[in-house]
Amino acid sequence: MSLNGQQIKQIIFKIAQMIDENKMYLTELDAAIGDGDHGINMSKGFQAVIDKIKDDNGDNIGDMLKKVSMALIANVGGASGPLYGTAFMKAGMWVGNRREISIEDYYNMLLEALNGIKARGRASIGEKTMVDSLEPAINELKVSIDNKFNELECLEKMVNSAKLGMENTKNIVATKGRASYLGERSIGHLDPGAVSCYLILKTIFEEVKKIKG
């Protein structure tokens, strides 16, 4: 698909806007099984992201993503800050000073991000966290790429899989994060981090579609 730094920057801006629009929704999800701040946290963090990269010319994708990471780490607070921060950090480290990324690069960046999140959060799939939308999405993306589907199709399948994973968090008893204190009582609720992660993947797909479609 070959996205350049400027395009990636635009996608990040769109993500920030989307998070802001979903601030109350994410916060309400978190109020049900956490401490009711996920939307507030994320929106604060992505505001800082915009500030941090608005003057970045996108020449060095790796550096830009590290800036995103630092902004998230320093401003989101809570659990999701270090997790998303680590994700962007790992993605940025993988991409290094490449000036464009392909769908395969994108896959590798996501995989690095996932591994970063899992290591940081000591989490695996099925614990009712953002991992539950991210991991199936990445697996699906891999399969689609291996099947040589066209790029938009790959991304679309990835988003659908993220959505299924996200919806499935309703059926999971949380064993990580604040929701784990609820035990069985966490069943029936979506995990806010899984939702924000799905929304981010969806935004990426939609933006790439606009650029490429």
């Binding site: 401490d35 009711g36 270090p82 940081r120 784990s180 204190y181």
Partner: protein
């Protein structure tokens, strides 16, 4: 929301200013950061850094001073501080002998402190960390986020702080901090919720005749909710939960902390201690020291926690060592 504040968004900032203005002989602030450090510390010693969300005062800034912490990092209310803040604290107090991070076991705290640890290590600063998880209301297993860190943390500050003040190495200080963690268990209960200023409304509700047993210090759910019972019955139940997790034998020495969450008057905490002491004595356990007061609060929540720390000779010595901080003094 009935609070004596100016603006919900500036409570932490104004609190820090009010604290520093109250105790300039003990504390100073790292400019532009929510980091409070000792006014004066010896040049060479292991430095102790703790922190977490605000709303638990006097924790942790109240424990910065001689014989306890070197720095406290203050997050927003009930929100972990971020790595840039924690990093600043580490840099402010590292004297070359290494830094011990004392972390309460909450996902956000653990991750933010650990990221910072990696950042500091990359800069060549020797950093170790311990994770306090004393709250037996939560089951500890590989498959959960594990027990939470609550008032028992203050014992870690006190004892590891005394060890550092003696000039021990980072490894030694970490060892004794971990020994405290291994030997301390706590459990809390709440009668009323509390309100995060920025949220403006209580974080949960309890009926006029209800209490929640095992409640966490941010209002996290406990083991169950029930009708209010006499103090003695509540205490007995809570102690049994603690003993289930950490059995005590005859002639064991313990330190007791009866910690108010803020809304509960001292009178009630003493009534609680009356029973705690009786139960321990009836088991032949020797109560070496007792601390009754507000050590780790939860905004204006009414309720209390009980912490029991099993002591050996080393822990006794360090518990009784001189300390001079705003909220904990030993002469």
């Amino acid at each position: 929301m009935k609070k004596v504040i100016n603006n919900p968004n500036y409570v932490v900032e104004e609190m820090i200013n009010g604290l520093i203005k109250a105790y300039p002989e003990y504390l100073k602030r790292v400019d532009n950061y929510n980091v409070i450090v000792r006014k004066s510390a010896p040049n060479k010693k292991v430095a102790l850094v703790s922190g977490g969300g605000s709303g638990h005062e006097p924790a942790h800034a109240g424990y910065v001073g001689y014989g306890m912490l070197d720095a406290a990092v203050l997050g927003e209310v009930f929100t972990s501080p971020t790595p840039d803040q924690i990093y600043e604290a580490i840099k402010a107090v590292d004297a070359g002998d290494g830094v011990l991070l004392i972390i309460k076991n909450y996902t956000g705290d653990v991750m933010n402190f650990e990221i910072t640890k990696e950042m500091a290590e990359m800069e060549g600063i020797k950093v170790e960390s311990v994770i306090v998880n004393d709250d037996v209301a939560v089951e500890n297993s590989l498959y959960t986020a594990g027990r939470r860190g609550i008032a028992g943390t203050v014992f870690v500050h006190k004892i590891a702080g005394a060890m550092a003040e003696e000039g021990a190495s980072l490894e030694e200080v970490k060892r004794v901090a971990q020994k405290v963690i291994n030997n301390v268990r706590s459990m809390g209960m709440a009668l009323t919720p509390c309100t995060v200023p920025a949220a403006g409304k209580p974080n949960f509700t309890l009926q006029e005749d209800e209490m929640e047993i095992g409640m966490g210090i941010h209002g996290e759910p406990g083991t169950h909710r029930e009708k209010i019972k006499p103090a003695d019955e509540i205490v007995e139940h809570m102690l049994n939960k603690i003993f289930d997790d950490m059995p005590l034998s005859e002639n064991d020495d313990v330190a007791v902390m009866v910690n108010g969450l803020s809304g509960t008057p001292l009178m009630e905490l003493y009534i609680v201690n009356n029973k705690v002491n009786d139960v321990l004595k009836s088991k032949g356990v020797n109560v070496y020291r007792t601390y009754v007061g507000e050590y780790m609060t939860s905004l204006e929540m009414a309720g209390f926690s009980i912490s029991i720390l099993k002591l050996d000779e080393e822990l006794k010595r360090l518990l009784d060592a001189k300390a001079n901080t705003v909220a904990f003094k030993v002469l």
